[in-house]
């Protein structure tokens, strides 16, 4: 009887919880201080505090200390997190989250505008803050994302957002922060549906395509320097590149293409360029290092391009580049990229399995990604003065066995870890529990 009552009570709570969280409402600004005591704090810069004391107020971290050596007063709500782990919110660069909801349904797809040179196209205004996929990132610790348009030679401009917001405006962390270029390929795939031979062959138009990109840059530079009498939105938007140091993200994989892109950076006098992808970057790592260019390395959960490559080439690529002294972050684009971005922590875990120190691997999705996106003044580590964007996990968050979040905060606001998916989980678990009674 007691057991039955307990189950009924439990069920009641479950049902209540699931209906309460049917729609995950963003929470309002932090009003009371929060103190997390006793957790292993993974700072995100390679360091660990075994027994930590973390305090945040008004959305900002005010203390990150070793609890065993400080007498600091606890403040506000106290969370005992002994045996648990605290991490800075994971940062997912180069994603299309919020731009597409269901991949096969065109009405839900806003990732690729028509046209070749579209620097003025802005992802932020199409970002759906209420996407069910975005919501599903949070229970895995992925709390920040760079939302990137796709397609064309210049795809457009990305923004960085946080994943607990009513709308894109509230979500924005860094607005219109990066320009995205798909570097031409020196090889092209045969368009078999047009009767061309299948497979890869040299792209005879490669030089021409690079020239077009160069001309676009030259023309827009001339336009920006001129009287701008006639409105030209694409040219005008390039001003931020030439005069405000806006970052240029070049999506490029091949060895030759990477070297050409670096020459382009020099020729165009670009201040800040990031390589996105860089599959063959190891071959020209010294040059990349010498030019001080960072790399957003592709998702380790992919297969090698060539039969004869090491089976674990993709697993270890980020390590190989880090070992060369390059600043490396991890990105998640590829097959089913939106849904799969919640696996970002496990991508870092996979790199750790290839021999990188675990805290260094963690850096790939925290501090390094923050630096590469230009948000490390606010995000990427658990350090005094930064945003209180963090979470508590029962165990090692880079391993799927132990990545189990108990609490998560964005700018000090505790957010719900429920989702469309957990709602269905509760609903049907309840169904079968009720049948047993």
């Amino acid at each position: 009887m007691m057991k039955r009552l307990k189950i009924t009570l439990l069920l009641g709570i479950l049902i209540l919880t699931s209906s309460l969280y049917a729609q995950q409402s963003p929470t309002s600004a932090q009003t009371e201080a929060v103190t997390i005591v006793g957790a292993t704090a993974h700072i995100g810069n390679g360091e660990i505090i075994e027994n930590s004391l973390i305090i945040f107020e008004n959305g900002i971290l005010t203390q990150v200390l070793d609890a065993s050596t400080t007498k600091m007063q606890y403040r506000g709500t106290i969370i005992n997190a002994e045996g648990k782990h605290v991490y800075p919110g994971f940062i997912a660069p180069n994603t299309t989250l919020g731009l597409v909801e269901i991949a096969s349904l065109r009405p839900t797809d806003d990732e690729d505008e028509i046209g070749e040179m579209l620097p003025h196209i802005r992802s932020l205004v199409a970002y759906n803050a209420e996407s069910q996929i975005v919501e599903s990132m949070r229970p895995n610790g992925v709390l920040i994302g760079q939302i990137v348009p796709r397609g064309g030679t210049i795809s457009g401009t990305s923004s960085v957002v946080q994943f607990d917001a009513w709308n894109w405006e509230d979500a924005s962390i860094k607005k219109d922060a990066g320009l995205h270029i798909n570097w031409p390929n020196s090889f092209k795939r045969g368009r078999w549906w047009l009767g061309e031979e299948r497979g890869l062959k040299p792209n005879e138009k490669y030089a021409e395509e690079v020239l077009k990109l160069t001309q676009f840059f030259n023309n827009s530079r001339a336009y920006v320097a001129g009287d701008q009498k006639q409105e030209n939105l694409p040219f005008k938007s390039m001003d931020a590149i030439f005069n405000n140091g806006k970052k240029v993200f070049v999506h490029v994989d091949g060895e030759r293409e990477i070297v050409d892109a670096i020459q382009f950076k020099k020729d165009q006098n670009l201040k800040d360029m990031v390589i996105v992808g860089g599959y063959d970057a190891v071959k020209v790592a010294d040059l990349i290092k010498a030019e001080n260019i960072a790399i957003l390395s592709p998702r380790p959960h992919s297969t090698p391009n060539q039969d004869d490559e090491d089976y674990d080439y993709n697993y270890k690529l980020a390590k190989l580049l880090t070992d060369k002294g390059i600043l490396v972050g991890l990105e998640s684009s590829g097959q089913m990229e939106r849904a799969n971005t919640r696996n970002l922590p496990f991508y870092a875990g996979t790199v750790a399995a290839s021999g990188m120190d675990k805290e260094q691997a963690l850096k790939l999705i925290t501090l390094n990604n923050a630096k590469i996106l230009g948000i490390d003044d606010r995000l990427g580590t658990l350090e005094k003065g930064k945003d209180a964007t963090l979470f508590i996990s029962e165990g090692d968050a880079l391993d799927m066995r132990t990545n189990k979040l108990t609490k998560a905060f964005i700018q000090g606001r505790e957010l719900s870890l429920e989702s469309h998916q957990t709602e269905l989980y509760h609903r049907y678990s309840d169904k079968y529990e009720n049948q047993k009674e």
Binding site: I102, P202, Y206, V210, M336, Q421, Y425, Y428, K431
Partner: protein, 562 residues
């Protein structure tokens, strides 16, 4: 692109040697002459689209070895630097510093053609990267002191020995005597049965016969491609058996090939011996061609799908009746469907949403047979009770969703709910990348739904073996079962663990140490082949632009193969 004029005299520094490099000729067709001290070095220079490539022969003219130099040359030609690939395949950098612009007239010299025998490398099984020089043989191996995941009521045993002999698991216990067996110290390591992928499309040269709504006459056993590198990569991820399924273009698909991943064997030898008969069925968006351009084939709705099944099953009953009279024309498609109706061939049905799952069970029940497995089954959690009653098993993705409308309600808790409802649950891949990490996919059930590690591990081993009716052969570590085992560097569910050895029937098909050796051999061979090609090119052989045939990544919905 601007073409620089390379003309001039350079000091070329590469691999600790200083050469004299003289470039003459027109800017777009420059020629090079190289000397090392007084010795002339054969060379070839090409310069296109701002990329310079130089081929240097070895100073030792008896050797056909080359150093390759590759550099991007901007407008400044005073110092050119780039990448050098030495004759041994090692990569380093080089620089060419301009000493003078003015040039002397180049001299022409006739070079002697040499006839040399090219070295021949041994054929391997398969004859490609990571092929074996000799096929792996059954060995007697004793794993000492391993943590053994038995998948039996004995659970996970610490410090346990497992003896593999004659292709079978001969003994599981402590302090086993090795006899003649090779002893492998497995202290601190974990030994498991091999991973089984219920839903795979690797090792195939075609997936869908999509011209009609039933293709029961075709079999995947006819299209096994034993040279797919993903077989080797799956072994490196601890996978030993797969069900190669037909695609999902038709309600009634083709027959399966159940395979052991015996890398190096031919297609026939890869088929799991005496494996039960299976066929693929499919429901939903793929069979009603929701995401196709053409909209002409029946069925176009889930309503039509029910009638397709009912129609074919009725035809098959009629065929069977006619066959008994002796007056009939043999029809392989009908023979196959009769096998299904009589329970002699099992069905693995691609399925997503609850309505269609329920429908297929009702149609099967009306014809008095059972659906063996619902594969993908992303809304299985909504009808787990009905599946239990019907007697169906489930093989699902761990966390895929949102790629099409019918997976809108797919949740990562699916496996856990179905398991808790008493179904036999497997986690499958349908993907050549995920299949090599199925241990991680199983581990996601620990995160999503709190399944115990021991049970989660069965999702990719014992449970798929049960679904494939092969659990008397594989899927657990106990005496008499096939010697299909994997030695892991740590807990097999941990992201930090690697498969160190993968055995099938007592033969080592993957070994991490051997893999390292193979990598080196491949690099050396590749370098040698490049050298031979360059030598032929220098000798005036015809050349063609580099092209590459790409392997297709196949899925359920792969229609056209190339």
């Amino acid at each position: 692109m601007n073409t620089a004029n390379l003309e001039g005299k350079y000091t070329l520094a590469v691999d600790g040697k200083n050469y004299d490099l003289e470039i003459t000729g027109k800017p777009n067709t420059p020629k090079a002459e190289v000397k090392l001290g007084d010795q002339k070095i054969k060379s070839k220079l090409s310069y296109t689209d701002t990329w310079m490539q130089v081929l240097l022969s070895s100073p030792d003219s008896t050797k056909t070895e080359y150093t390759r130099l590759i550099a991007k040359v901007g407008e400044n030609t005073n110092k050119i630097s780039g990448r050098a690939i030495l004759s041994n395949g090692q990569e380093t950098t080089f620089s060419a510093t301009k000493a003078a612009e003015k040039l002397e007239e180049p001299k022409k010299k006739e070079e002697n053609k040499e006839e040399t025998l090219l070295p021949i490398v041994p054929l391997t099984y398969p004859n490609m990267a990571y092929g074996f020089k000799e096929l792996p043989k059954q060995e007697a191996i004793l794993f000492k002191n391993a943590t053994v995941w038995t998948n039996t009521e004995k659970g996970i045993l610490e410090k346990t020995d497992v003896l593999i002999r004659d292709g079978k698991i001969a003994e599981v216990g402590t302090n086993l005597s090795a006899g003649k067996a090779k002893v492998i110290d497995a202290s601190g390591k974990h030994l498991t049965t091999g991973i089984i992928d219920e839903h795979s499309h690797i090792g195939a040269s075609a997936i869908n016969e999509a011209g009609q709504n039933s293709s029961a006459e075709v079999t995947m056993e006819d299209v096994i491609d034993p040279t797919d590198i993903n077989i080797y990569r799956n072994l490196a991820g601890g996978v030993t058996s797969i069900q190669l399924l037909h695609g999902s273009a038709n309600p009634i698909g083709g027959r399966s090939a159940i395979m052991k991943l015996k890398w190096g064997s031919n297609a026939k030898e890869m088929i799991f011996p005496d494996s039960p008969k299976f066929i693929k069925f499919a429901l939903g968006e793929n069979v009603k061609q929701s995401n196709w351009d053409s909209k002409s084939r029946f069925p176009q709705t889930r309503m039509g799908v029910e009638q397709v099944f009912t129609d074919y099953f009725s035809q098959a009953r009629d065929y069977e009746a006619a066959k008994k009279t002796g007056n009939y024309r043999k029809d392989i498609e009908m023979e196959t469907i009769v096998e299904i109706l009589n329970g002699n061939r099992f069905v693995s049905s691609h399925s997503y949403i609850q309505s269609e799952i329920n429908m297929l069970m009702k149609v099967a029940e009306a014809f008095d047979f059972r659906i063996n497995t619902f594969t993908h089954i992303l809304e299985g959690y909504k009808v787990a009770d009905k599946m239990k009653e019907h007697g169906a098993g489930a093989s699902t993705f761990s966390d895929w969703w949102a790629y099409k409308y019918e997976v809108k309600d797919a949740i990562p808790y699916n496996a856990a709910i179905m398991h808790n409802a008493g179904l036999t649950v497997a986690i499958n891949s349908d993907d050549g990348e995920m299949s090599r990490r199925l241990n991680q996919e199983a581990a996601k059930s620990v995160k999503y739904g709190g399944i115990s590690e021991e049970e989660a591990w069965k999702f990719v081993t014992l449970n798929p073996a049960k679904l494939l009716h092969l659990d008397h052969r594989v899927g657990s570590i106990e005496t008499g079962k096939d010697g299909d085992v994997v030695l892991w560097s740590g807990n097999p569910l941990s992201i930090y663990s690697k498969a160190e050895k993968t055995l099938i029937e007592g033969a080592v098909y993957f070994d991490l140490e051997k893999d390292k050796v193979l990598r080196n051999e491949i690099a050396q061979q590749k370098n040698m082949l490049t050298g031979q090609m360059l030598s032929a090119k220098n000798g005036g052989a015809k050349t063609q632009p580099a092209t590459k045939k790409e392997d297709q990544k196949m899925h359920c919905d792969t229609l056209v193969t190339y």
